[in-house]
Amino acid sequence: MLDFIVIVLLSAGILFFFGTINGLLRFPDFYTRMHAAGKGDTLSTVLILLGLALYSFHHPSVQDLLTGYKIIFIAVLIAIASPTATHALMDAGYESGIKPWGGETDSEEEVDK
């Protein structure tokens, strides 16, 4: 049962990470790519970490519980840090004058599509 949950969490993490990268590579401009990075990166990381934390409860002992707790703590940290970093990058791009994509075909990314 525990293994099953672990597998689900890990797989889901990889799936969302795949989505993240897909968005990161295919979206047309910086801002839209940040959507993918901000949401996908956070969720996939948190899911995988949860999976690994559960995995470490395999042979429950005080030490392993604490280890699992630490992994969960990392997950929480990333849940706070990742959107914050996304915001900071976004703000930096905005401040430094990157123009949002407006559907026109002037972007070189557009050609790739």
Binding site: F16, F18, G19, T20, N22, G23, R26, F27, P28, D29, Y31, T32, M34, H35, A36, G38, K39, G40, T42, L43, S44, V62, Q63, L66, Y69, K70, I80, P83, T84, T86, H87, M90, D91, Y94, P100, W101, G102, G103, E110, K113
Partner: protein, 171 residues
């Protein structure tokens, strides 16, 4: 008072991390917790108006909110996958734009939670918060609409419920 709270929190944190329960390490932990409590209490607890009890209930409500938010994040990720994999030309699926809105939330922390929630939920990312103005990037018109009229208010309401324990008008 807050220093004591901070000390206890930090000591707890230490014990969980340390995993060593002998006196020597506990003393080290106590010293460390003292140092952090001395230097950083004002960081964690800037708003001193609330009683510890209020804080505790706030934490409880926040857990509930976090569960809701988690679901929203999952949705957001499916949204991203959909947008990036859809065979439709990108011009039709995306119509990104930047817009502002004004929040009614009062405390910094609530605004912070709202901003990050906006980032994590489908279709929107917070670019900047200056005072009560949020600058938001929306990836689709629908997402923008959600935020302005629908889910934004929904989210703001929930955040307000967690931190300011009041209802905000709207959906």
């Amino acid at each position: 008072m807050y220093h004591l709270l901070m000390f206890i929190l930090m000591m707890l944190f230490w014990i969980l991390m340390s995993g060593k329960f002998d006196t020597f390490h506990l003393v080290l932990g106590a010293i460390s917790s003292l140092i952090v409590a001395w230097s950083s209490t004002d960081l964690l607890f800037q708003d001193r108006g609330k009683s510890p009890a209020a804080r505790a209930s706030e934490a409880g409500r926040f857990v509930l909110y976090a569960c809701w938010l988690f679901w929203q994040i999952v949705l957001a990720n499916f949204h991203v996958i959909y947008l990036s994999l859809t065979p439709k030309p990108i011009k039709e699926t995306l119509s990104p734009h930047i817009f502002n809105f004004k929040t009614t939330l009062k405390t910094d922390f609530a605004r912070f939670v709202l901003a990050n929630s906006i980032t994590l939920t489908p279709g929107t990312v917070t670019i900047r918060v200056s005072e009560d103005i949020f600058v938001v990037h929306a990836i689709t018109v629908k997402a923008a609409g959600d935020l302005e009229g629908g889910s934004i208010s929904e989210m703001e309401r929930r955040v307000a419920w967690v931190f300011e324990k009041r209802e905000i008008g709207g959906a």
